[in-house]
Symmetry: C2
Subunit: 503 residues, 2 copies
């Protein structure tokens, strides 16, 4: 019995817990045979679409290919069948707004980013813009490139769903709005100018909610359905002789430390006041004032995640031997969901090359990200950090905010969450409700007033390495529990139907 025959037999026998991919094929394929056929025919073009997009990296922090990236995003939307696509200027880099009116009673919105994280080609095993296809043991063949999983792969797969439906002569069962920005990786400083343009806001308000494509199936095929995410403030703390009025204006010979103050030591002193001695709990004054503890339902969901997830696999994936305070997994996951953090992304002062250089630096910088939980707000965080530093005499320490988002929350009962759960269930995929993603995305732009929309992540498939070297996105799955690009495409098709159908 060869593999194909075996799969066909499974199909005829119906769902099998041992072979969820057969199930997935049965459901998505079974409901939309013409669309699946079109998706299969488009497979090479769908892969090439991702590779071509990766070849044009837009990096807001480096002002690299920003107008080009917006143009490309617009062209991709029109190519996928959107009726209109418009470049939306902002005070920063432009976004894109596209509309596909299918004459349907319901509208679904989707959020795209066309920018990617910075990268250092020296750290990659294949060129980060080449989109080379390599084997990823346990998963299958994957495109390697900057933006592969975050977010060009999943986004292009959503576009592939629209291509497949059009090619199959099937009109999507919902209207679709696309809002895209090019500043996600610098914390979306101007995205509000896009979503709050009156006509765009009006259109979004009429939608069932908004989602961001994702490809987060784990090696066992499981996915999380996130009911929210932490907020974030990205910022630099800068100590300098210039603003302090002590220490040198520029780097001087280190022997003068005996009579000259040091901005680098000042930064260290300011920094250490921000957290407890173990570095794990924010110690900024009033930080926990508005922190909402986990609800009973949230704790229940986390306990379930701890039971069903593999702690060992997660530790290995992260290269971590023990959690904070040697917590058991469930409590570590509670901490992950519930606790605000003050993280050092980077430290830069003085001489940073190999060996040493005997200087007393005139300037020292710490790059921080502050993760926020409901009901903290970004504005509150910035205000409290400033007040904390001022009160301790560090009013000379500059806070340079790069950007940030408020935390987001979406009700478990919302149409978009229920449609996600239904789609995963129909695909035979084990979906775990996650009370809160510890990462951040500009979802608060949608979930907070004035829009107050449900918002979440959705997608089949797998990729990993966001922000890291050798980022990848699986296109050809050899893991029966994980979707390749065609099944992931069909997953988006089914989501549209579930949104159209939801009660």
């Amino acid at each position: 019995m060869d593999r194909r025959h075996f799969l066909n037999t499974s199909l005829m026998l119906g769902a099998s817990a041992l072979f969820p991919r057969a199930v997935m094929a049965a459901t998505t394929g079974g409901f939309y045979p013409e669309v699946r056929k079109a998706a299969e025919a488009n497979r090479a073009a769908d892969i090439k679409r991702i590779q071509d997009w990766i070849a044009l990296p837009s990096i807001a922090a480096e002002n690299l290919n920003m107008p080009e990236g917006a143009q490309y995003m617009k062209a991709l939307a029109l190519d996928a069948g959107f009726d209109s696509a418009e470049i939306i200027p902002t005070d920063g880099h432009p976004g894109v707004y596209a509309v596909m009116d299918n004459g349907a009673p319901r509208t679904l919105a989707v959020y795209f980013m066309y920018d990617v994280k910075q990268f250092d080609p020296a750290e990659w095993s294949s060129p980060p813009l080449a989109g080379k296809i390599v084997d990823k043991p346990g998963f299958g063949r994957a495109i390697v490139g900057r933006g592969a999983v975050n977010q060009k792969g999943p986004e292009a797969t959503f576009l592939a769903a629209l291509h497949a439906m059009r090619d199959a002569g099937v009109k999507p069962p919902v209207n679709i709005l696309l809002v895209a920005e090019g500043e996600e990786e610098i914390a979306s400083p101007h995205f509000q100018q896009i979503v709050q343009r009156p006509d765009i806001m009006q259109a979004l308000k009429g939608s069932e909610g908004i989602f961001i494509p994702a490809s987060w199936q784990d090696i066992n095929g499981g996915v999380n359905v996130n009911l929210g995410s932490k907020g974030v403030v990205e910022l630099e703390l800068v100590a300098s002789g210039e603003s302090w009025g002590r220490g040198p204006a520029a780097d001087i010979h280190s022997s003068y430390k005996a009579m000259v103050d040091s901005p680098a030591w000042r930064l260290v002193q300011a920094l250490q006041s921000l957290v407890t001695a173990d570095g794990n709990t924010p110690a900024i004054e009033g930080w926990f004032e508005n922190v909402r503890p986990l609800s009973a339902r949230e704790k229940e969901l986390i306990a379930e995640a701890a039971r069903s997830g593999s702690e060992a696999a997660r530790k290995e994936q992260l290269g971590v031997a023990r959690w904070i305070d040697d917590l058991p997994y469930q409590q570590a996951l509670e901490r992950l969901a519930s606790q605000p953090t003050v993280n050092i992304e980077g430290l830069v002062a003085g001489y940073t090359g190999p060996g040493g250089k005997t200087i007393l630096p005139g300037r020292a910088t710490a790059k921080l990200d502050l993760r926020l939980v409901p009901n903290q707000t970004r504005r509150e965080a910035e205000t409290k950090l400033r007040a904390h530093l001022d009160k301790r005499g560090f009013s000379d320490i500059e806070i340079v905010v790069g950007g940030g988002y408020d935390p987001t929350e979406t009700a478990e009962s919302s149409a978009i969450i229920q449609a996600q759960l239904a789609t995963y269930r129909r695909a035979g995929v084990n979906a775990t409700l996650n009370p809160r993603l510890a990462g951040s995305w500009p979802g608060a732009m949608f979930t907070a007033p004035p829009l107050s929309l449900p918002a979440g992540h959705f997608g089949l498939g797998h990729g990993s390495g966001a922000h890291a070297p050798n980022e990848y996105y699986v296109v050809d799955s050899t893991n029966p529990r994980v979707a390749g690009i065609t099944d992931a495409t069909l997953g988006y098709v089914d989501l549209l139907y579930q949104v159209a159908a939801i009660g």
Copy 2:
């Protein structure tokens, strides 16, 4: 009366406090007219020797041009008339040992370094290896390049003195030993292997002492005669998930901070335990145990320096508005001479580029230099730092020592100091005795047992910007109080005679 006539008149009238350069010309020129003539004839070649040497940067920290640098040093010595010059291998980069036996009763040793500090061409106003000649207001025309003042300019000027004497048919009145290394800028980790080679040690022990060429005349022509210098330990403190057994082995997404420990925060906590809250006084346990307070004579010398020096000029030169604790100048100078320091040269962790990057770094490094005063030792400092960290639970923090020196002291009554003072006096240069240089040099290799030699800095002329961009060395002085290259050359000639003559 034109300028030349005026100077000649001055010469005839003898020393004039108003025109020290005239005095300088009178003394050095007056005593060695044939040598001065040769030095003047060699002027272009002497300048080109510096420029050519600058064009070959040897940087031990980058393993750049090290064998080439040693070969070049050897060739320069032979070219200047040393009878022999030998490349001395070490466990690190090689040194050079050269001997000039003039059949004289006394021997003087000179210490050279052929390496230079790292540099970033982007920070320079002219290419750092081009040795371009530019105007330096207040001083004259100067060679700009890495190593111009530290130490190729002054060293090549000493060689110019030997060239001039040979060209004038004058045999130097002392025998000369040259010891050179290529690892000064990484704190001389293998220099002991050179100076303690039995035959070299034997030869050095027979000398009157050793000096390093310098060109530290200030804008008023004044120089310091240093009676010692601080010691130093250069090191990196490294916190990593790997050695800690907590936190990530490599950079991970920053959202995990809520459940994963941070090596960067650990480094900050360890760092802040090393100094008082103002960052100005070492707080390492037992650090002051062997610190010898300033003697009455040392305080007297510092008081004199405070009275005669310009505090405002020094503040401006350093870009510093106030000294530590707003100390008056004299107390600031006492602090400079007497206090050990823990300085941050650099901080490097995680993402160091523009903007932010949401990672939790697996590793964080602080580059420190610890300046030591008598009777601290480098070994004591390293041991106490380790013990301090261990006692506070930071035994995982690695200490990677790049190199270091013990502090040095040379008696005011020693022949080499007295010869320096005599030479400066004869040149009409105001020489201030400085109890201790706050910078460091491998002088302890000479002053400590087994050699126990007097050691110091000597030289006329001016340069600045050691370790900084646009380092320069004045070759053509327009400041009547400051020596250009020819007067500086004659200064070295006179030093040899003063050493030969001293009581």
